[in-house]
């Protein structure tokens, strides 16, 4: 009898120990990886029964993973395209649920030694589409411009192309790099380089002021300017789930949108939505 009781107790304890933890998988935007990892770390500390796995790869990769069913949540630095919603619709009969989690001012980086202080949206467009190829055309030194950008699976790449280049193609000479950190590193080492990326990565190089047109005032990508829309290149950072979130996923998303979750947004260098 005693042996049976010990065995039962052991079994119950073992069951307790090996009770599977609930796992949430998150994949997508490289811009959002650090922010999402911070969220995940803190949320897991507060909720030991939940495991959150975060990987990057780019917004496009994350959205494909959501459609293919290989991730629970997609993080994206751009909104979903109609063609992606169409694929989601065909498989899950939904358009996906979009959650705005943070605001990001997309920065334009130049090397610290570059004398250029500000650019208009039109000038930025002409630089990245290859119409302006020398710094002297915009008041800088007589040196060619080296372009650094993101790979085409990146949400930042798509957002910048659609909203700053107005849908035009990037110049063929632009060097595509795998993450915003790589863009920052490249520009930091290249005196004649220029790149773009999230504000959270803008350390060690100079973020230039941007103005809507030649006659406007140029603004830095500060929280105040981004939130007031004075800084013209800002975007939401999104989370996408296939259908209305329930259970552990809902709990995590609700927490991200809470005051505590939004405080982490500020700490990482983005701007809260609430």
């Amino acid at each position: 009898m005693k042996k049976i009781l010990v065995a039962m107790l052991t079994a119950v304890m073992a069951f307790g120990f090996f009770q599977p933890k609930e796992t949430i998988t998150i994949k997508g935007s490289d811009t959002m990886v650090i922010l999402t990892q911070r969220w995940a770390e803190i949320y897991m500390q507060k909720n030991p029964g939940i495991v959150i796995q975060v990987t990057g790869g780019g917004s496009g990769t994350g959205i494909s993973a959501l459609i293919n069913g290989t991730t629970d949540i997609c993080i994206a630095s751009r909104s979903m395209k109609p063609s992606e919603r169409e694929r989601l619709k065909q498989r899950y009969n939904t358009l996906g649920v979009e959650i705005k989690t943070a605001i990001d001012g997309l920065s334009i980086y130049v090397n610290e030694s570059n004398p250029i202080q500000e650019l208009s949206l039109d000038q930025i467009k002409n630089i990245f589409t290859g119409k302006i190829t020398n710094w002297k055309e915009i008041g800088g030194a007589n040196q060619r411009i080296i372009l650094y950008g993101r790979e085409n699976n990146s949400g930042t790449y798509i957002y910048f192309r659609d909203n700053v280049l107005n849908g035009e193609d990037y110049a063929a000479t632009m060097q595509s790099l795998p993450g915003t950190a790589s863009v920052v590193n490249a520009v930091a080492k290249d005196k004649i380089g220029i790149g773009y990326g999230g504000a959270a990565y803008g350390k060690g190089i100079r973020e230039i002021k941007v103005k809507r047109d030649a006659n406007s005032i140029a603004y830095e990508p500060t929280e105040e300017n981004v939130k007031s829309k004075n800084y013209p290149i800002s975007r939401y950072l999104y989370m996408y789930v296939k259908s209305r979130p329930t259970g552990a996923i809902k709990g995590f998303i609700d927490w991200i949108l809470s005051a505590e979750g939004q405080e982490i947004v500020s700490k990482v260098g983005y701007y809260p939505v609430r």
Binding site: G69, P82, L95, G167, R244
Partner: protein
């Protein structure tokens, strides 16, 4: 002496040291040059590989295999029935069953699609490999306008731009087969011809909610050569309305088909027993004209997952023969039957969690809406099995094992209207009752 030696040493040693430093600097410079050369070599190799990869990335391979087991409540080829006609057992569930066969394994579809896409052009070739052989499904080229990227021109063999079911890929469709009206009116789904398409991009704002497809085709189906000079016009005007905040989407479209079939004789049969025998009928074209409406509603309303409700109706005039209402792929050789038809269906697809779907469909097809099936075989009636109406109710379950594999369990309950109890015709007699032709399908699909 010692003093001189020290002075000499002081003079000569730095020189020796400088020479040693120079030698070491030369070595370093040489090594840097070697490394630079090696890096240049690697860069060249990478550039060459990138060029090759860029070219290869334009080629996309996709496909799927559907292996299945079907089991019918009755065997094929029963006494008096048509072996391969529209009323044959299993004809609309993967192909007519052979005589005395009710259960079979088959590869319903074995598709391999190659797409080569350049900036504004696309080449597509798709083949279908099954136990019956190899067939071509798609072979077309598309060119887009380089300015707005909205208009495109497609030429070759491709899906007819009509309705929803044709363009909804068999690899994605939740039910094993299309509804009865589609293979009847559009055998093979595809057609030889040319079409223009307008798909406004997002940059065009409100207009991007609409699309238009319009084409001119032979009208003989995907695998037959043209047999007359009549060309058929097919088109669809569609709208896609996404309500993202509410997670609801409504897609809808209106389609038209305007074509014609040549009559081999002067006799044109209509309704129940009307016969038009005007001499000029022989060799004249009679309209093959359809109009269709389709709508699909997608909504994320239930906690178990997304739902979609689909509806489609097609009505119009279909030329055929006495016992066959399917669109002909060759010139008719017997008297033409000109029928006014109506077909429609409702379908429900309900996601249950992320890997399961419940599906149900109600489908009716009246090949001759001016008459009742009970007139078939009745005295004085000229009607044949081409006038026989059908109702099909299907229910099923789909399980998505992963992104590539899905399993489908589906049961079709097929009910034919009853022919005249007075008929003495051996072919029509079995249709005095409901034929045993319900079909269960178990399908495994691998898609990539």
């Amino acid at each position: 002496m010692l003093k001189r030696a020290i002075i000499f040493a002081l003079i000569i040693l730095p020189a020796i040291n400088t020479r040693a430093q120079d030698t070491s600097r030369d070595d370093a410079n040489e090594k840097v040059a070697e490394v630079k050369e090696a890096i240049n070599g690697i860069n060249e190799t990478i550039a060459e590989m990138k060029t090759r990869l860029d070219a290869l990335s334009k080629i996309k391979l996709s496909g799927y295999i559907q292996a299945q087991l079907t089991s019918s409540s009755g065997a094929g080829g029963f006494a008096g029935s048509m072996i391969s006609g529209p009323t044959a057992v299993g004809n609309f569930q993967g192909g007519a069953l052979a005589k005395d066969v009710s259960t079979r394994f088959s590869v319903r579809r074995g598709r391999l699609k190659v797409t080569y896409g350049a900036d504004i052009t696309e080449y597509v070739l798709q083949i279908d490999v099954t136990q019956s052989g190899v067939g071509i499904k798609d072979a077309y080229a598309t060119i887009k306008d380089p300015w707005l990227r909205t208009f495109s021109l497609t030429a070759g063999v491709f899906d007819r731009p009509f309705g929803f079911e044709i363009m909804y890929s068999s690899g994605r469709r939740e039910m094993p087969e299309r509804t009865r009206m589609y293979p009847t009116l559009f055998p093979g789904e595809r057609e030889l011809g040319i079409k223009i398409e307008a798909n406004p991009t997002e940059m065009m704002g409100f207009l991007s909610l609409f699309n238009l497809k319009l084409g001119v085709f032979n009208g003989t189906g995907p695998n037959a050569n043209e047999v007359d000079n009549m060309k058929d016009v097919i088109g669809r005007f569609g709208a896609s309305l996404p309500f993202v905040e509410q997670n609801i989407a409504i897609d809808a479209g209106v389609s038209i088909y305007a074509g014609g079939i040549k009559s081999p004789t002067k006799y044109i049969y209509k309704k129940i027993n009307e016969i038009d025998s005007t001499q000029s009928n022989k060799g004249a074209f009679f309209g093959r004209n359809y109009i269709g409406f389709d709508a699909q509603i997608y909504a994320d309303l239930l906690p178990i997952g997304g739902s979609s409700l689909r509806f489609e109706a097609i009505t119009g005039q279909q030329p055929g023969t006495k016992d066959d209402n399917r669109s002909p792929s060759s010139l008719l050789s017997t008297d033409m039957y000109l029928r006014n038809f109506l077909g429609y269906y409702f379908a429900l697809i309900q996601n249950v969690g992320l890997q399961h779907q419940f599906v149900a469909r109600y489908d009716q097809f009246y090949p001759n809406k001016d008459a009742n099936s009970k007139h078939i075989g009745a005295p004085e009636s000229k009607m044949g099995l081409g006038d026989l109406a059908y109702t099909t109710i299907g229910i099923g379950w789909v399980y998505y094992y992963d992104a590539n594999v899905k399993f489908v369990l589906y049961y079709d309950m097929i009910t034919n209207d009853k022919v005249s109890p007075l008929t003495t015709n051996a072919t029509y007699k079995p249709y005095k009752d409901d034929i045993k032709d319900d079909i269960f399908t178990f399908r495994v699909q691998y898609r990539f």
